[in-house]
Amino acid sequence: MFPGSLFLYAIPLILVISLVYAGTRHELKEPILHHAFDTFKWILGFMMIVGLVIAGVTMMV
């Protein structure tokens, strides 16, 4: 199995974490979805950058 495919398991987790976190910061639907979308993008982006750095370092070593 390609090791990167394990990251696919992170997507539902990030989605749920974003929604629940945003849900505990706001009361109405619109701000919850708005905040959750931003959090989702932020976590996914952060993980992709870290993943790319690790992949790069692994290839160099």
Binding site: P12, V16, Y21, G23, H26, E27, L28, I32
Partner: protein
Amino acid sequence: MSTDENLENERTAEEIFAPVPVDLKVPEMALLLAWLIPGAGHLYQGRTGKGLLFMICILSIYFWGLSMGGGHVVYAQWNSTEKRLPYICQVAVGVPALPAIVQSMRSKGKDSEPFKIFGNKIMAPPLKIDDPARGIDIDELRDWHNEYGYLFDMGTLYTMIAGLLNVLVMFDAFAGPVFILPEKEKKKAAKAAAQEADPEKTSSKKET
């Protein structure tokens, strides 16, 4: 887009994220219900949308995680063999994680054994018997890891995160949401405030 339109948008964004009054009813009761079943505290308070959101999100990752490890990733064990620390997180999901305690008690009893569902000892602690003299070597935890591979750890992670998220939900049911303005909106608001404070600078920038 003109400055007036910009300010109009900023006001709208601030209005969107503005705190709203919340009726928490009896917060202690909501806290208890939120622990027992994720989202139930919010349903009790009449916050149906959020209650359903929390219930669907948390229970779906909890049961998905549980199924990844064949129902074995959630178990309670605290002895010299293993101190099952993930269960501290998992038990925060409430009722869905409590059968592990029953299974643990039954597995300790001399005349009882864990309940089986379709022949599977779901949420029962792993059996470990190592008796070289009689040639017995039973280690269920090792067997589960061999059978489910990385899914066993992934399932443990899913169920732990479900429990930790429910802690946030319990706080929300007890004390209401921690209203915050997202970072992006904070920056927008600061920019709008700067424009209001010095409109000439902004307009001269636009002209150039």
